[in-house]
């Protein structure tokens, strides 16, 4: 685990980097330059990024390596793959690393995805309700996903 973080809003880049190294090591993977650049690109994004957005952010990352390394990073629990409604998968740093459980505002017109957080009280209410529903259906709950679909400021 990372050292106690006090009340800072975000883990520092350095701390995240250390965490990533640990997570990769746990699945016998190296934290190479390409993977570092990938993590950096995702850190800069305001929300989950598509492969193309990552490519645009960092010209030196070949597409095949982006795909392969995002798969490795996902396997290691470093990134999360997000599927919205358009044809492009998106990736963001795992909540484990950002320390922010959050959800997504998805623009149905341009596809952009923006993060938001829910009030803790609402989140707990939701969790309970979901646990109940899962139990009833014989599901073992692992995670949940809440998206708001709408139009972003630019697409109204």
């Amino acid at each position: 685990m990372a050292p106690a973080a006090g009340n800072v809003a975000h883990m520092s880049e350095a701390v995240i980097d250390d965490e990533v190294a640990v997570l990769l090591d746990a699945v016998d993977q190296r934290y190479t330059t390409g993977r570092r650049r990938l993590v950096a690109a995702l850190q800069e994004g305001v929300g989950p990024l598509t492969i193309n957005e990552i490519s645009a952010t960092d010209e030196n990352l070949p597409q095949s390596s982006i795909y392969r390394n995002l798969a490795v990073l996902e396997e290691a629990g470093v990134v999360t793959r997000i599927v919205t409604n358009d044809d492009f998968a998106r990736y963001e740093l795992a909540e484990k690393l950002t320390a922010h459980h959050h959800h997504h505002l998805i623009c149905t017109a341009c596809g952009i995805v923006v993060d938001f957080e829910l009030d803790g009280r609402v989140e707990r209410t939701l969790d309970q309700a979901l646990a109940g529903a899962a139990k009833e259906a014989g599901f073992t709950p692992m995670d949940h996903r809440l998206d708001l679909l709408g139009l972003c400021r630019d697409c109204q």
Copy 2:
């Protein structure tokens, strides 16, 4: 609108059929035999179905027609396209027709999707919280989507 339904849990097939006809008519589309078979197939499913599942349900539907007609039906607001985390899009009848706002339990192992409903109180709490978050981000909210990810009874 459909006639007042009293307290029945489901719209009858006939009523749904009428609604579909109206919705298609509104976008100048015909309610052909193939489209009727598609709607029937979706009505039988316990949750959203993939193209393959629909094909399996009704041998007489050619794949290209399934794709094309699902697109038409979605355009008309008859069906909703669901994207989970696997590689297959899924389709279900629009909530407008089933009269049940619901969410999905998604098995991360086999991909099966099962419907469930949330308590009205929780749903309202959620709506308010989402409206607030949307406003803050300059989004115009249109819909929301809540999925529980976990393991189904068979995949534990």
